[in-house]
């Protein structure tokens, strides 16, 4: 089988909003709605949650020009497109970080556990993908939920050699249904990023 080289990544740059969230960028009248603006499209099953966070650079300054995408299973652990997945849930969210605070927010549902190809289950998690000026290849990470007994047996968390870093992938419960997940690009609290 031929193996062709993947096209090289390049940074999304400071103007990613023009192409990916034009309404957010003030370019209105081209698309009705920005892609990924709503993850819940109807009477969704499961626990509704809000996931919010900021992305910090190596100086501790929040990125104000990043874009974050979320991809996750529904409350039953199924991804959109799988048989039996919740028809009122897209599983896909896209958020331009706030131009002042750098905050991103997703209104979503708490995902269910998902299967693992070698057997067993993965603890409930949300995949995030981060692009911005200065990031040359989009960064994949995962948000897990605090206090979940399934964390112990999660096959991905189990691969993290420096156990102190596991904590970087676990959201903080702020109040009922509200979770915070801050991302650190560098430094002692550097978030674990994946080469998937």
């Amino acid at each position: 089988m031929r193996d062709l080289p993947e096209t090289a990544s390049q940074t999304a740059g400071p103007y990613v909003h023009i192409g990916c969230t034009p309404n957010f960028a003030g370019i209105t009248g081209v698309y009705d709605e920005d892609l990924g603006a709503r993850m819940i499209t109807g009477d969704v099953s499961g626990e509704r949650i809000t996931l919010t966070g900021q992305i910090f650079d190596g100086t501790g300054t929040p990125l104000r020009d990043a874009m974050v995408e979320a991809w996750q299973a529904d409350a039953g652990g199924l991804y959109a497109g799988q048989d039996g997945a919740d028809p009122h849930f897209t599983g896909f969210g896209r958020c331009a970080c706030d131009q002042d605070s750098g905050a991103f927010t997703f209104e979503t549902v708490k995902p269910g556990a998902t299967s693992w190809p070698q057997g067993g289950m993965q603890a409930p998690h949300i995949t995030l993908w981060i692009v911005a000026r200065g990031i040359n290849l989009g960064l994949h990470t995962r948000v897990y939920f605090p206090g979940d007994p399934a964390l112990e047996a999660d096959p991905v968390l189990g691969r993290i050699e420096h156990r102190v870093r596991v904590q970087t992938l676990i959201a903080e419960a702020e109040k009922d249904g509200a979770y915070r997940f801050n991302i650190h690009l560098q430094g002692p609290d550097e978030t674990v990023f994946f080469d998937v």
């Binding site: 062709l4 096209t7 390049q10 200065g134 040359n136 560098q186």
Partner: protein
């Protein structure tokens, strides 16, 4: 390609040599925004092998026509008119159909329509700078736009970006997600650009440079440039290899 040949193995691992490095000091913003720990590898699972599906009903009639999708009635964007076309395939040379492609770019003068943009070149009232399309069954796509201008940017004391169009691609799996930039054949700024320079492999840069395509150029209307894109692919499983040999 028949469904029975679609493999169900995981995505082949990404090869870092085909990509830019995270930390490339000549691109100054990368210094404080590049992770320092090695990324953690794991075999892809359902969450990486699935992805959002966007149907053709998402698209409006002018989404792939940047000459007109922001223009007043009867007007069109100012600048050299071009067609950009190509095919999206995976690393195993299979066409990727149904892939959403989103593009964005500066206008012909090198000015973006963005509130953080400070370049003195003027906005074009008839140019927004965004477009999108979805690949056909054979992986092909095309859109119409104006040739973007090069522009200065705050990095070194006198850095200019080569003319480029940003591309965002969704394949079938979230592991295929890619954002890149397309450059234009013959632009002397390409090899001077520190963002391009973050890619160490010269041939990987050359694959981002679209050649002029006279065959698709429309006489008295628009020149054409061809930009083919390769996304990651899924390996066949051992089981399926045996089945195919039976």
């Amino acid at each position: 390609m028949s469904d029975t040949k679609i493999p169900h193995g995981g995505y082949a691992a990404r090869q870092p040599g085909h990509h830019p490095v995270a930390l490339y000091p000549p691109y100054r913003t990368s210094v404080k925004r590049s992770p320092q720990a090695a990324p953690l590898s794991f075999p892809t699972s359902i969450g990486e092998e699935s992805g959002p599906v966007f149907g053709h009903d998402l698209l409006g009639p002018l989404d792939a026509d940047l000459l007109h999708n922001f223009a007043q009635d009867g007007a069109s964007a100012i600048g050299p008119r071009i067609i950009v076309h190509g095919k999206v395939r995976d690393q195993f040379d299979r066409p990727v159909s149904g892939a959403l492609i989103e593009v964005w770019q500066a206008n012909a003068g090198g000015r973006y329509r963005h509130k953080k943009e400070g370049y003195i070149a003027p906005l074009d009232p008839n140019f927004g700078g965004c477009g999108r399309t979805i690949t056909r069954e054979d992986g092909s796509y095309e859109f119409r736009t104006v040739l973007p201008g090069p522009y200065p940017w705050p990095n070194g004391p006198n850095d200019w970006r080569p003319a480029h169009i940003h591309f965002s691609l969704f394949g079938a799996g979230f592991a295929q997600r890619l954002i890149t930039q397309m450059y234009f054949e013959g632009d002397p700024l390409i090899w001077r650009c520190p963002i391009v320079g973050s890619i160490g492999d010269k041939s990987a840069v050359e694959r981002l440079i679209a050649p002029l395509d006279m065959n698709r150029t429309v006489p008295m209307d628009a020149r054409a440039y061809e930009f083919n894109i390769t996304l990651r692919g899924r390996r066949q499983t051992m089981f399926e290899n045996r089945m195919e040999g039976l």
